[in-house]
Amino acid sequence: MPLYLNDDQAMLRDSARSFMAEEGAIGKQLRHWRDKSCKDGFGHALWKQFAEMGFTGILIGEDDGGLGLGHVEAGIVLEEIGRNLTPSPFLTTAIAFVEAVKGTPHGARWFPGILAGETVAALAVDEGAKHRPDGIEMRAERSGNGFSLSGRKQFVVQGASAAVTLVAAQTDEGLTLFAVEKDAKGLEVEGVRLADSSIGARLTFDEVTVDADAVIGEVGGGAEILDRALNAGRTGAAAELVGVGSASMDMTVDYLKQRKQFGKLIGEFQALQFRAAHLYSELEIARAATLKAQQLLDEGGADAEAMVSVAKAKAGRASLLAVQEGVQMHGGIGMTDEYDIGLYMKRDRVLNELFGDPAYHADKLARMKGY
């Protein structure tokens, strides 16, 4: 398979690009909901439009009413989301959660709502300020015919809007995943606005009881499913980061062609040209790594997991460079709320933390390679 988009994928990119630039534009969505202090941080009408476009069914199989496509296609949509900073529950719901419950009875339960653009789902994994899925301590004790969950989770993106949340907890048999519904007794959800004005949540579980059929997969078999869901989420976040970085670079390069100082366009200065060219190089490499990770995930290759970490780390660093150079090269205007470049910087920061930052993934890669 060549490492570029095929004709169908290029068509999807074109339609996603014009849809997101139109309907998902910063003024129409991000600023609109932010300035209203919306408790969800996104518009439900847009989520429905995502469904009408078919986006929410990209990873859902055709037998279940979805499009049966893969991570390359998911990434195409996410890159456009990144370019426009479009707030939506797409990444957590249609990518990570769908990947986790695929092929389980939870699929039948939740896919129709996701396909209709009505249901929002979230992942509750992190328990501290950093992503450490190998150190999950939350407990689920056997209770009646089910389990009783107690503990805390944080950085649950869309957790305040989710009808269902995937919760990772330890049982005597090992890590186990549960689908917990929002009105579960003993579950306290505190929505928290993040720097980029998206809404995360802190969840507190106080003896939340769930039936045995809330278990996703097997009791004690959560690690493998969680890896799958997280790797889908990481690859998706990498694609979104590529979009964030690319749009930041485009805005900045445009600015270099307009802004005059010392009687010259500032883009004539070699000091800025070289930095812009270096940034271009980093983003191209990040895009290639991300596409490679997507293709390997779709092929189910053994190398996929290492490449996912490469993609998340590389896209994170490239996008970080793009937003930093973006604000710096814009100068004073880049510090204003009125100008969009600062919004990209905030989104980049959140996406870099989500599902593991570049340091986490470089370390993970090193361990996979035996050092």
Binding site: Q273, S281, K314
Partner: protein, 387 residues
């Protein structure tokens, strides 16, 4: 099974049967490469057999047309061949500036006679080529070159000097940029000429580098007579050929960033990293960068074959690949500590690590410096205004 699956299984079987075991070991250094030429030096019989077997099948240049000694493979088939060769660790059968640089330029700009004459020789490794581009006064500003080429009716007469001519002392022929119009603006008076290094008036002098090796030469032309039919492309339009060829040179050099040795530098250095967490972190970041760049190389080649690559993209590849390779060798030196500093001992294989480290410093200079590449990306891809 579709045609490509069939091609893959047949290729796999053929390589298994025909690639000698010795040619499935990683190259230890540049001297393990097979360069062919009029007076070829082979390290062993396996190296000779591997070059000849591959050349007979057209697979030293798998994607060139069969009529010019190539394999006539499609881009998809070529990619499969490379993957299957990589799978068994098969060495490149023939290292050649004829293949990586001159051949593509001849395919685009050569006459039919030139293609028929030169390309099959390149494919067989019969002639070893060198590149006459840089001059003492023409480095980054290559188009200011002054080597003079006069029309003497039945031949060209060449006078001047080249520098940094890789392996000029070992090469049979040279592809050379010469000035055929001394009055025209600098880009418009250049032509692209081929000639035999055994011609009367050609001499070479190796340059001793900081690595202690001499891969580059000064090359002198003193009244060298060249037959008229050895000019490629149009008279005074050699800059177009030169730029096209430079694109291919940059692709080749960018491949150095891949290192070739091991997929993970950290895995190769694991012992040294065990008690050095900061170095381990640097190496882990490097492994992220090199694996990402490997994907970039694959994407670039796929796009190039499909005609989708931006014409200036080789400049980005060259920049990123060479900077990466320099970083790799800095890390290898850091992991090696004082062991890696030994310059002559047998223990250090005569300073192998240190000499390779120093050699890589030329990567971001040769073929156009990193700064030249960034300038090209800024102007031609980002369309930033000219200074």
């Amino acid at each position: 099974m579709d045609d490509l699956d069939t091609f893959r299984s047949e290729t796999r079987a053929w390589l298994e049967a025909n690639c000698p075991t010795e040619m499935r070991q990683p190259m230890r250094d540049e001297s393990d490469a097979c360069w062919g030429g009029r007076n070829p030096v082979f390290k062993n019989d396996a190296q000779k057999a591997w070059m000849e077997t591959m050349a007979a099948r057209g697979w030293t240049v798998p994607d060139w047309p069969e009529e010019y000694g190539g394999g006539g493979l499609s881009p998809a088939e070529t990619k499969i061949l490379r993957q299957e060769m990589a799978r068994i660790g098969a060495r490149n059968p023939l290292m050649s500036f004829g293949i990586s640089m001159l051949g593509p330029a001849l395919l685009k700009y050569g006459t039919e006679e030139q293609k028929k004459h030169y390309l099959p020789q390149i494919a067989r490794g019969a002639i070893r080529w060198c590149q006459g581009y840089s001059e003492p006064g023409a480095g980054s500003d290559l188009a200011s070159l002054q080597t003079k080429c006069e029309d003497k009716g039945d031949h060209w007469l060449v006078n001047g000097q080249k520098v940094w001519t890789s392996y000029a002392d070992k090469a049979d022929w040279i592809f050379c940029l010469v000035r055929t119009d001394m009055q025209a603006p600098k880009h418009q008076g250049i032509s692209f000429l081929l000639f035999d290094m055994a011609s009367e008036g050609v001499s070479t002098k190796p340059i001793l580098l900081i690595s202690g090796n001499s891969p580059f030469c000064e090359t002198f032309f003193d009244d060298v007579k060249v037959p008229k039919d050895q000019l490629v492309g149009e008279l005074n339009k050699g800059w177009d050929v030169a730029k096209y060829l430079l694109g291919h040179e940059r692709e080749m050099i960018s491949g150095m960033g891949l290192g070739g040795q091991s997929e993970s530098l950290g895995a190769a250095l694991a012992e040294a990293l065990a008690d050095d967490p900061l170095l381990r972190a640097d190496v882990a970041r490097f492994d992220v960068d090199q694996m990402a760049f490997k994907a970039m190389s694959e994407k670039f080649i796929d796009e190039l074959k499909a005609g989708q690559a931006h014409p200036a993209q080789p400049s980005m590849m060259k920049y990123a690949g060479t900077e990466l390779n320099k970083t790799r060798h800095e890390l290898v030196m850091a992991a090696g500590g004082s062991d890696a500093l030994e310059w002559e001992s047998d223990r250090s294989k005569k300073g192998k690590a240190a000499r390779e480290w120093l050699r890589t410093k030329a990567n971001s200079i040769e073929g156009g410096t990193s700064e030249i590449q960034l300038g090209i990306v800024a102007k031609r891809i980002l369309n930033l205004p000219g200074a």
